[in-house]
Symmetry: C2
Subunit: 283 residues, 2 copies
DNA sequence: ATGTCACAGTACGCTAACGTACTGTACTCC
DNA sequence: GGAGTACAGTACGTTAGCGTACTGTGACAT
């Protein structure tokens, strides 16, 4: 059952996971579906083996991963949990592996809108990594799930020593910047329905596994920076078209190609950028 | 006439400027106004002395600046000049000192909107610095003027060797990310008039010196992602209020506090972030 | 089994901004 | 000095999305 379909760099098996454990064994490369199928039976953290579901961690060189592993701990993040607000600096950076984290901008008049999304493709805590308190938004958990986290000080210590680790994180930061930029342009130029479809696709991607998304219209409206009634109409149209199934607080994605057609080109631009920036570099 | 008002870190005098010249002499710290007053009389690049008008360069440690100086060359950028497009990588990074550079997103339907602005506070070419081809937008010269530039390969060589230089550029990148994020939120939540006022303030800041801005309404509409007629109304209101003076292709800012009142809080958030991120760190 | 309530659907008048197009006028170039 | 043109102002019907509010209903608790 192991190691049949290889999706290079997405996930990997590690050897024993314990504080300060530095040896590393890459046992299997397998598809994300297989990993989740297995991890449903056996807990990911058995004390003997840990499965990493985060692409940044999965794409690291063995040496870089070995350096970080001792500092990583798995945490469960609850929906709505606020990791940072205003100019707070995170004490930890988070590598989501199932949860999805949003960066939301709040305005003086009480309105708000999501400016960025981080899931299993990345890391939350870029401001801390870049040594500044520049994050003006709120960092909150949009979809609950687990994440690996480590202290910022440990990350900085390791990135200071490893150019390849810096390169990986810089390339992620660059992809994230493209997301911020394209998202901003999209906010200006595209309709609610297009943006709604894009948002669902992007969040679905970042959850890393096919599952129902626990989402109320009110929350979606908050993320898109529109009225709930606007979401009702837009999501209703997507449902009528058969792309999603909406049921009181949960959305199931039924037809991704359909959603892509309903969304604007921004989805493909952002998606493509992450693919290029995070592709595993040969060691 | 020299060295009376000190605005730490904004600009500085350097010793002799020539390729491969490594010695460095910081002679004067002076206000931006004094610098410009002087440089109007004597050309900035006399062969003996060069005045740096860029804040990133101005805020560098002596050692970092000394390392970069040999590679810097001054260029004049013309309005509309396109430095990069799509996934082109810049061969050089640019440190504007009077010109203002815009990053513009273009959509399939022909619409477009500015996502970021870079002037004398920063550097154009972050994608190259971060080792990726993720810039999907167009990098173009919005306000003509001069810039210092250097080859990306030389920059990477020096940043690889200097943690303090990396820190400076990372903090700038972070401030720029905040700009992208806030800009995106602003695009969703604020009116044309507010965004127009903010755009004028931000561009005015980044020109580094008080001068008339060569801007047609058509161009401003292009930047804001709105119709020209919309700009006509919004800018007309700002002119009626006495904040700006508009004259066929040029805008003069008359009342910055007034413009700030007409703009949204986004201006202050972005401005404050840059101030904090780019403040000169004690050596 | 029933009641409650949270969530989704819908309606309606309003406004900002759009697309388009025409007009007026200040420069520029003969 | 006059013609031509590029730029700004204005108008008008259209539309997307807003604010608000009421209705319907599925899920859950008592």
């Amino acid at each position: 059952m192991f190691a049949r379909a290889v999706r290079a760099g997405h996930c990997r098996y590690l050897g024993e996971f314990a504080p300060r454990y530095h040896a590393l064994e890459a046992r299997y490369a397998m598809s994300r579906e297989e990993l989740f199928a297995e991890s449903a039976d056996t807990p990911a953290y058995t004390g003997a083996t840990v499965v990493l579901h985060n692409r940044l961690l999965g794409n690291m060189s063995d040496a870089d991963l070995a350096a970080l592993v001792p500092y990583l701990e798995r945490v469960e993040l609850k929906v709505g949990e606020v990791l940072a607000k205003g100019r707070d600096l995170l004490t930890h950076v988070y590598f989501p592996e199932g949860c999805v984290i949003s960066i939301v901008a709040h305005m003086a008049d009480g309105t708000s809108v999501e400016v960025g999304t981080i899931g299993d493709e990345g890391m939350a805590g870029l401001p801390a990594y870049f040594d500044g308190d520049a994050s003006e938004g709120e960092t909150l958990v949009q979809i609950p799930g687990s994440a690996m986290r480590m202290r910022v000080s440990h990350l900085l210590q390791e990135t200071g020593a490893s150019p390849s680790l810096r390169r990986l994180l810089n390339r992620f930061a660059l992809a994230y910047m493209t997301q911020l930029a394209q998202n901003g342009a999209c906010n200006r130029l595209h309709s609610i329905e297009q943006r709604c479809a894009r948002w669902l696709l992007m969040t679905h991607d970042r959850m890393g596994q096919p599952k129902v998304m626990p989402l109320k219209q009110q929350f979606l409206a908050f993320m898109l920076g529109v009225r709930r009634a606007g979401v009702s109409v837009a999501a209703g149209a997507l449902q009528d078209a058969g792309f999603i199934r909406y049921r009181r607080g949960s959305i199931r994605v039924l037809d991704r190609p359909g959603l892509q057609r309903a969304s604007c080109e921004c989805y493909e631009i952002i998606h493509g950028t992450f693919e290029r920036m995070l592709a595993r570099v040969p060691e």
